[in-house]
Amino acid sequence: MSAVSLAQVSFRYRASLPDVVQVSKLDIASGERVFLHGPSGSGKSTLLALIGGLYAPQSGSVEVLGSKLSAMSQSERDKFRARDIGFIFQVFNLVPYLDVIENVVLPIKFGRQVSKGFSSAKEEAKHLLNQLGLGPYLETAVTELSIGQQQRVAVARALIGSPGLIIADEPTSALDADARQSFLDTLRTHVKASSSAVLFVSHDRSLASAFDRSLSLVEINRASFREGGAV
């Protein structure tokens, strides 16, 4: 079973607009960590939203962890995403009015199962946060954390319940060089432990070495050079 399998996918936001994504084939194996390089405007955010089930393609098939998202209803995709996909964004990953631990357990509230070996979402969240060096900040307001700390909280949230796929959209671009390296190390260590597949997107090619495989979005997405292609 592959983690992600796209075939002949095309997507546009509105019928009157041109395609933003045209991908004939993209496969990510289970547990594989893939680096996807793409400059801004190459449609990467849209591609990630398609894989995450936020949008459904107009044509083609999107399969994630053996489930055909492109054939599901919106609410089925929402449930699927809650259960099986962890997201990490560039910045502002966290809900500002929730404290650290509440942010981490959010996916559990929307249907993700706690990992084996843990009796509650809180317990797993604490375990993850401790491992990520955030032990002292469990009940801190997220707005009081540094950006590096916030990104690590986002990692904990993506990892909780060991989802089959983690999608990271430029998660290091707001970090300085030291924080970036430690973020990548952390991610690698924990993803290995949870055996999740990772789809990591960045415009910074220098990060590629940390991953099993590197792809270029420009090559994959035939729509990426269209002017105004990505929204």
Partner: protein, 461 residues
Amino acid sequence: MSGIFSLALKSLWHRRVATVLTIVSISLSVALFVGVGRTKEATRDAFSGAISRVDLIVGPRSGTLSLLLYSVFHVGSPTHSVSMKAVEFAKNQPEVDWVVPFSMGDGFKGFPVVGTTAELFERYKYRDGNAIRFAAGQAFQKDDEATIGSDVARSLGLTLGTKIVLSHGHTEDGDGFEKHEDHPFSVVGVLEPTGTPLDRSVFVSLVGMAEIHRELIAESPHDHEDEHPVATKEKKDLKGHEHHDHADDHGDSHDDSHDDDHKHADSSFEMDRGKLKVTAVSGFFLGAKNRMESLNLQRKLNTWEGDALLAILPGMAMAELWKNLSIFETALSIVSFCVVIAGILGLFVSLYIASGYRRREMMILRAVGASPLTIFSMLAGEAVFLVLAGIFCGAGLMYAGLAMLAPWIERKFSVAVGLVRFSTEDFWFAFAMVIVGCVAGVLASINAYRSAMHDGLGTRF
């Protein structure tokens, strides 16, 4: 979805300053709206409750409203008078049960003085037939006695036995321009509060009323002819001739009929004090033996060939008065409605501003698996919470305010403000507010959701 409720509450708490301000703005507009509604009702009740169980009010021919205003509300004063002959005529009609004449136009320290008969206290009812009761003492019996309303007693600190000197001329406050130290009235009765203009009145006998003008009449017989119900001073001079001084010269026909009056006068109206005799009054209240006869009696009195009379049905006149006042009522309603609109706009604005910076939050919730419906219900729920909190705070505020102000309002305006009471109108209003709040929440979240979706999962702002 159990988490949604706590998420919404946490989000509101996170934005607590905006939350509180929004609730305050909604509650102020709700308080004003409900307050205006309650005041409107109280005023209407006070107006229509000011007179009851009186079938006709009869006065000199003028306007319906002016007759109603001076007879019931003691506002303004009659410009003409009604002869005792007219009173007699009405009293002698077979359909008539009782007649209570009254004289107006004088004041005591800003309170109107009403000359009438003691029967008034039995006949005159207020608010659906409530009888007038005495807090102390009784109705005046003699012509130098006065019975006073509760407001008069309280504001002037008058008690039974106090001597008061009534003055001529109704002035806004303070005494009239002349005092008559030689004819003080003693307070023999204080009425219980009624929440009607009775509370602000001083009642004396018709002769007592005439007494107030005695010297003036003697000194300058023609000075006050237009301001006052008429007292004719009848005195036998040394030679034994009858001599008439007329303070009233408007009804020419009366002149020859004074002796007539004297002969036919019912004992209750023949109240001599010294040598005064009452020959005319401002008007009279009338009770029919059968209410169904009121219209018939009204026609009879209006077409009487004696004085030019105007008989009005209190209920109809009240309705006409209310119609005249309703323009103010409408204006008040419009203002309060506008305030409510402003409150709702405030809600819209605050939700819209919030939705602007909540785009990211919505996207995060979407990313962790919240459905659009979940997010909409959360935002709409927050809006409904704001509206409900605003409604409860506003209603609480209004009733707390009313509870504090009610005694003052009652004292100042003789308007009894009912306490906690919700009209069906209020419920509809609250319901509409909640719906509007819900719509505001959904519109704001659609706005936020659209832009969030437009952002995609990227980091554009």
